[in-house]
């Protein structure tokens, strides 16, 4: 069984009196340690799908198993705990906590979510800071570093809990091309080092090539699946 298994997934949104179908009969399986991308135009359902996989939302219909757990049946608290144990998130707008330093942002999930002992915490954070080349900036606050640096910190924060799965929704949308390639390269490198599954969504065709597997979505349906080997551009 794969890390993620989706069976006949539907997701509808109610807008006023109108029901809109965002995802339509999705079936797929994702293996552990994949570097995978969902691509498609705006409104194709990429973000909705990532939200379902990330247990931030629940499908209207269908079955979804992540890391061996039927996530559809989890309640709010269980979903929060599940996310904390198994997942890391990278956001388009970086979403670092502005009142915490780079170091503290990375440390946050270890204290607040996983309760990791201080010594181990320090070890993990320093190692990740070195990997994302942010050691020198560790005492700076988010508003004192660049967008690319913020996303590096976000990558480190997502990985610090040693999750099985990292979800990144348009992680390069707010970055220039050079920095975007760098971030995707960093994500790929971290995936190789840690064996964590990375799933990202993008509509930027230039960075899509970095993914080993590419799912193309259109109007809430998977229209294509490519195994590329992920050697492009990185």
């Amino acid at each position: 069984m794969g890390l993620i298994s989706a069976h006949k997934i539907y997701k509808d949104y109610q807008v006023g009196e109108v029901s809109l179908r965002a995802l339509n009969d999705l079936n797929f399986e994702i293996e552990p340690a994949s570097f995978l991308s969902f691509v498609g135009p705006s409104g194709s359902g990429k973000t909705t799908l990532l939200n379902l996989i990330g247990c931030l939302d629940t499908p209207t219909e269908g079955g979804l198993t992540v890391a061996g757990t039927d996530v559809v049946s989890l309640d709010r608290k269980q979903r929060a705990a599940f996310r904390g144990r198994h997942m890391g998130f990278i956001f388009q707008d970086f979403n670092l906590i502005p009142v915490l330093t780079v170091y503290e942002n990375i440390e946050y999930p270890l204290i607040m979510v996983q309760n990791v002992p201080p010594e181990e915490r320090k070890q993990r954070i320093l190692s990740l800071l070195e990997s994302v080349e942010m050691t020198e900036q560790k005492d700076k606050y988010p508003d004192q570093i660049s967008g690319g640096q913020k996303q590096r910190v976000a990558v480190a924060r997502a990985l610090v809990t040693e999750p099985e799965l990292v979800l990144a929704d348009e992680p390069t949308a707010n970055l220039d091309s050079k920095t975007a390639y760098m971030i995707i390269g960093l994500m790929k490198e971290m995936q190789r080092k840690s064996g964590t599954t990375f799933i990202f969504s993008t509509h930027d065709q230039k960075i899509v090539g970095a993914a080993e597997i590419i799912y193309t979505l259109e109007d809430g349906t998977i229209v294509d699946r490519k195994d590329t080997g992920g050697n492009a551009h990185v």
Partner: protein, 412 residues
């Protein structure tokens, strides 16, 4: 907890101006309450002190039914020497009682040989009376500060109305309990300043003179006035004395004695109660101020930090921790405001003390205002502010903790 507190404090510092404004509002409220409590407390205790220490005493013991007929100054509802022995014994068993004085109270006619008018008199043992109501000599505005047999201290209004001076001879005529009339000459040894409340316009003679005027076979006491070492023990002493004396029953099985605190005997108690009620309203205003200001700030904080809430929730922070984070923010703001308020309040109270402000009450002039606020009051006000701060944060914090991460992350 430390990390939650760190985030809460940093978030408060992040919006410095707003935090300062809110803390200032809380501070003003706390200062206002503390200064109000200190000043009214000082005025209240000064006035209570004036009333109790110059005539009323802290507690009074009478024969049952006396206070109900006190306007008539009855000579039939009195304490016999046997009854006095029981009271004396009960008083000696209570170490908190500093002194007591026995009085024979009666109404009579006062004549300067030209005119005659009514007078209310207290026959007292001067040494006992001065120990029990130590401010009595300060009320003697003319003449000697002592009272000997054959002397009379008369109220100022009477002296003015009858044109009587210190050293003049006057006659007091009274009807005794059997209805016979007797008179005795006295020399005016002093003029008494009036004070507010019952007994504030009474005259004083020696208790033996009262026995003589009333032709008593034995000394029959109208009231026993008690002074406590510590005014704060009033309620305890009252209960203790009541406990002992209420066991004394007459043949009909009814209590022989009645005990009253000054509160039951003076109309000033109602003014004191009004001061307490005003203080309560000021405290309610403080609570409202803190509640509204903290709630406003916390609602704003939740609204502004919606995406942050979504982020921390997405990465697995449990709802309880998110709730704690916001409650701690409100708590920190409350503590901050309360501490500054306490400090500024104490400084203002200190300044009021060194300014030696005086005020007048009735005919009492130059009473020195000595505002004082106890540690218990400061703690109580601070605790109220802190509890209200937490309560005010609960609703916004609860809202933040219940937020679906997906909705919070979508917030623009």
């Amino acid at each position: 907890m430390y990390n939650l507190l760190k985030i809460a404090i940093r978030n408060l510092l992040r919006y410095r101006r707003r935090t300062l404004l809110t803390a200032s509002l809380i501070m003003i409220g706390v200062v206002f309450v503390l200064v109000f409590m200190a000043v009214t407390g000082s005025v209240k205790s000064l006035l209570i002190g004036q009333i109790t220490d110059s005539m009323l005493g802290h507690l009074q013991v009478h024969k049952k039914g006396y206070v109900a007929s006190i306007d008539n100054l009855p000579l039939t509802i009195t304490l016999t020497p046997k009854a006095m022995q029981k009271i004396d014994k009960a008083i000696k068993e209570i170490p908190e009682i500093e002194a007591y004085s026995t009085r024979i109270k009666f109404g009579g006619l006062f004549s300067n040989f030209v005119e005659t008018t009514n007078i209310r008199l207290n026959g007292v043992v001067p040494e006992m009376e001065l120990k029990t109501v130590p401010l009595l000599p300060t009320r003697i505005i003319k003449g000697e500060k002592t009272l000997k047999k054959g002397d009379i201290l008369i109220p100022e209004l009477l002296a003015k109305g009858m044109k009587v001076k210190v050293g003049d001879t006057v006659v007091v005529i009274a009807t005794n309990r059997d209805g016979s009339v007797n008179g005795k000459q006295f020399m005016v040894s002093g003029i008494l300043e009036s004070v507010t409340g019952p007994g504030g316009r009474d005259g004083y003679i020696h208790i033996e003179d009262a026995v003589e005027v009333l032709r008593m076979d034995q000394m029959e006491i109208s009231e026993v006035v008690l002074r406590l070492k510590d005014f704060g023990t009033l309620q305890n002493v009252y209960e203790s004395l009541m406990g002992t004396l209420s066991q004394e029953k007459n043949e009909a099985g009814k209590p022989v004695f009645e005990v009253h605190t000054w509160e039951k005997l003076s109309p000033f108690y109602n003014i004191a109660r009004m001061i307490d009620i005003m203080t309560l309203f000021i405290k309610i205003m403080l609570i409202a101020m803190v509640l509204v200001s903290i709630m406003n700030v916390m609602i704003m904080a939740v609204y502004e930090r919606m995406r942050e809430i979504g982020t921390i929730s997405a990465i697995g922070t449990m709802p309880g921790r998110i709730l704690s984070m916001f409650v701690l923010e409100g708590l920190s703001l409350g503590i901050f405001g309360a501490l500054i308020g306490d400090a500024v309040g104490c400084i203002i109270i200190y300044i009021l003390n060194i300014s030696h402000i005086t005020f007048n009450f009735g005919r009492q002039t130059g009473l020195l205002l000595a505002p004082h606020v106890g540690a218990a009051d400061i703690l109580m006000v601070s605790a109220t502010v802190i509890i209200v701060s937490v309560a005010a944060s609960l609703q916004p914090a609860f809202k933040a903790s219940r937020m679906e991460p997906i909705d919070a992350l979508r917030h623009v």
